[in-house]
Symmetry: C2
Subunit: 267 residues, 2 copies
């Protein structure tokens, strides 16, 4: 199995505090030693750092810990190999272009007897069931909405309505907890385990579960900032994280959930 | 304008020596300060590091200098912005998936009045003419060969025959020196300036142009290794580099040119 970390914000934010604890699970506080990756959006482009070495011991992870990259949407993943060997092409997140935007995807869970028919617009490069699921999601969006560009892309609500039933179908094959973003919106599906927290004014102190590190968000934020952090398991031990419902699909925008199973949430 | 660096080898090789000199041109020995990037293939997957900071001063470039990544195909680019702002989405190399393989592309030169019709399978994420050219090349391959996968992908000779005339058409709009790879083969087009060198047994010493650094390749290679390095301008001052012919298309495999303007070369 693997672990997921996502961040969705209303203002570009660095993820160093959360990543510090999360990366420890890649070999130190947990067993996810078979590669890791992290993707940061900057507008419609994403930069994706992946490495087949454990996150706790990777020179690339060391870079991420020391080089603050501010982003409104971040997806990270640490891997415990179940399907597919430990090599680069099997490391999440995966990235593809659709409608002139980068799309990034990471998955936690195993899928059994999962061999979707992919017509060829998006094909997996590696051997994981996860990348097949990602290709199926993008192919479905492309088939549903056709060729689109910056002028006429579908909105988050339309996209959600297409993605959600596909995720439910995929989840019939096993565990399908996933994070997916186009740099504007974070689409998430939880079949078993995912939690989130929204941090907003007044910001408080937070303390990591995985190492003795504390940050006072009040000193590094403004009154208008809002940040949603999503993780397989809570990253801090002095804040209240909200577990996702089983088999739920939640859409995050501007640092908060805006759609839960297709229903708009209120602030 | 920009500068290009490519490497194509018959055995996974690290590019640290060449990158050391090349990165100096990103702000120290030359003016290419508007971002840079490098992509390494590992089998059919590629990892791409990009940064909007000058290569001579980038924490990501520092990582590349210190973390040897062995690869048979590498493409790097340092940017002097002409079209498109200095931001991440305009940094080369660009990357897309076709037929279950990552394809990587970088371009040196400016294109005037270049607005190809892109039907939508591949759309630019950023604002550069370069990314439009890349999308046009991939779209042309897809239209010509249709949906393919690992079982029935076209070979390098078939691909070259499709890419070469498109590159000639693009070069009518200005300067089009480019490197493009799917992890097996390096496709290159030179409209004005590109040089290469093939290093093979017996390996000799090489000394960089851009800084006082020397390496004895004999101590880090085996008799069977062969490495082709391609660059906008020769990286070493004690070896003989071969300039590309104007408006030529050269295909490299296993560390040597195998096709020049469609004609097979002999060892």
């Amino acid at each position: 199995m693997c672990q997921l970390l996502g961040m969705n914000c209303n203002t570009p934010t660095d993820i160093q505090f959360s990543f510090e604890g999360f990366a420890k699970r890649g070999g130190l506080t947990d067993e996810h030693v078979d590669g890791w990756g992290i993707a940061f959006f900057e507008e419609s482009a994403a930069r994706c750092f992946i490495d087949h070495r454990p996150a706790s011991d990777s020179p690339v992870a060391e870079l991420i810990r020391n080089y603050p990259i501010r982003s409104c949407n971040v997806i990270s993943h640490i891997r415990k190999a179940t399907v597919g060997q430990v090599k680069l092409q099997n490391c999440h997140p995966f990235i593809r272009e659709l409608w002139g935007q980068a799309w990034v995807f990471a998955h936690n869970g195993d899928l059994k007897n999962f061999a979707p028919t992919l017509q060829g617009d998006y094909l997996p490069i590696g051997e994981t069931d996860s990348e097949q699921a990602f290709c199926l999601l993008l192919q479905t969006l492309k088939n549903e909405f056709g060729y689109r560009n910056a002028e006429n892309r579908p909105g988050a609500k339309e996209i959600e309505a297409v993605l959600r039933p596909v995720c439910e179908k995929i989840a019939e094959h096993g565990t399908f907890n996933m994070l997916m973003s186009n740099g504007q919106t974070m689409y998430t599906h939880c079949s078993t385990k995912l939690e989130y927290i929204v941090r907003a004014y007044p910001f408080k102190q937070a303390h990591l579960v995985d190492c003795d590190l504390q940050v006072d968000f009040g000193t590094v934020t403004t009154q208008n900032d809002r940040v949603a952090v999503i993780a397989t398991a809570a990253l801090t031990d002095n804040e209240v994280w909200t577990p996702f419902d089983t088999n739920s699909f939640v859409v995050f925008e501007d640092g908060r959930p805006v759609l839960k199973n297709g229903v708009e949430t209120t602030l």
